[in-house]
Symmetry: C2
Subunit: 281 residues, 2 copies
């Protein structure tokens, strides 16, 4: 993907240089082959809005650190208790429960340090970092994790799943697009960015649910069938695979339509929407 | 204490209004009778530097949220495994392991949201919040927690304990004093603030160690003798109680001497140094 090398190199630069166990756990998790979807959205929205992507890199990396911390904590035994992540032992399996906990805490904290170091006008730094905090906290991603835990083993409706996904995975995707606009000084485009993000976010989660049923562990890089095992209600378990695929297709088109509100080159984000629909892992 | 009511009222205002389990866990932990030492240091340094304490309140509360999150995570079974905190069941005992984890994550995130909302010049907000992130992260408090975990059951030197305390408890006390100076626009006084904090920080930790041996659970509000039980090396176990008390007394005087570099009213911070030496819990 267009921005991946840029993001990976910057992320490596922000990681601790030291070799203690938590620093190693942080690097292990951040380097464990993520798709860098969220930081790529920050940079592409910034570019499409006419901004300088170099200056948005700290915001993009901060978001990826928050995503990574959430995966580390999500995998812990007291949460989803997943031993594998992207085909490799999860952080707590590789480094121990206590150090995985602290590595997550340290990545969350480093995210804010990194965002605040961006070479942007101070009001944009504050605005973007505040958005990041709100999207990641109890009103956003953490709120979604809470609902997710409480839904386990319960019969829930499509609306309830949508609400959970909107927070748990959707908020970071939304704030990625929003931070890109803010970095470029285009707060006026946030509404359109949010609508694109909303469509991509729901679509992303549905594809996850589909792959959990239709893929295999080698392709997916994580155990398949875990939703079923954990008695999780998903789009697929409620609506079936065909109907789920149809919704993904409609959302992808809607996301692409929304890009007409931007003056810049929309080709990357159009392809990105297609890529999200067709992804295999 | 002079600033306690102000801090408690502001903290209540920043907490979630909702009633879900993580919101309740956050409020339970934040309202659980902390001494509010760190936020009081922010406000008193701000005032002593000629700043407006009202405007430093978000920074002060952010710091208390970070302190509270660290206690929640420290108490978890995979860390210190403490069932009680300030005489009441720890967060994970009251709400469950997974919700205590998320309440800690949410408080850490809310801290940054809150700090960034301060009504101060943007450069001071960025400066103070960045200091807060650095002090709380892998180079600061989390780094100290790592060393603490690794020291358990090992024979360590006084220097090694000092280094651990400097990070684990010292960094938040240091950044409290630093943020107070920054909020007042007096970066030039940071060196003196840091020296005061250094003395108070070491003294604070030694008094903790002394109380763990000399106090009882009812007075202290947490189980006594836990350092001994966890085979932790402390000042007391290495130097004895009398020598430890003497060091506390010298540090207290040194902290008070440092206040001569400030033009404002130093009486609160002088009394504060004495109070820290004489505290019973």
């Amino acid at each position: 993907m267009k921005y991946t090398d840029l993001i990976n190199e910057a992320l490596r630069g922000y990681m601790p240089k030291s070799d203690d166990i938590v620093s190693r756990a942080m690097k292990y998790s951040i380097e464990n082959g993520g798709k860098r979807i969220r930081p790529a959205l920050v940079l592409s929205f910034c570019e499409m809005c006419g901004g300088d992507i170099e200056k948005a890199i700290p915001l993009a990396c901060a978001l990826e650190m928050i995503h990574t911390y959430s995966l580390i904590h999500d995998d812990l035994p007291c949460m989803d208790n997943d031993d594998f992540r992207r085909g490799k032992p999860s952080c707590h399996i590789a480094f121990g429960y206590e150090y995985a906990l602290l590595a997550g805490d340290a990545l969350l904290t480093l995210a804010f340090e990194t965002a605040l170091k961006a070479d942007l006008p101070p009001d944009r730094i504050i605005d973007a970092t505040k958005e990041l905090a709100i999207a990641s906290g109890w009103k956003g991603m953490v709120g979604g994790q809470v609902i997710d835990l409480q839904n386990e083993g319960k019969r829930v409706t499509v609306e309830e799943i949508e609400n959970m996904d909107k927070l748990k995975t959707g908020e970071l995707i939304r704030v990625a697009c929003v931070m890109g606009c803010i970095a470029a000084g285009r707060r006026d485009l946030i509404k359109s960015a949010e609508e694109y993000a909303r469509c991509i976010g729901i679509s992303f989660q549905i594809v996850d649910d589909i792959l959990d049923v239709t893929s295999d562990t080698a392709t997916l890089g994580k155990p398949v069938g875990s939703d079923n095992e954990n008695e999780k209600c998903t789009y697929v378990s409620l609506l079936g695979i065909e109907k789920s695929k149809q919704i993904v297709s409609e959302l992808t088109q809607k996301a692409k339509d929304e890009l007409q509100n931007f003056d810049g080159d929309t080709s990357f984000l159009e392809e990105f929407a297609d890529l999200m629909e067709q992804r295999k892992n």
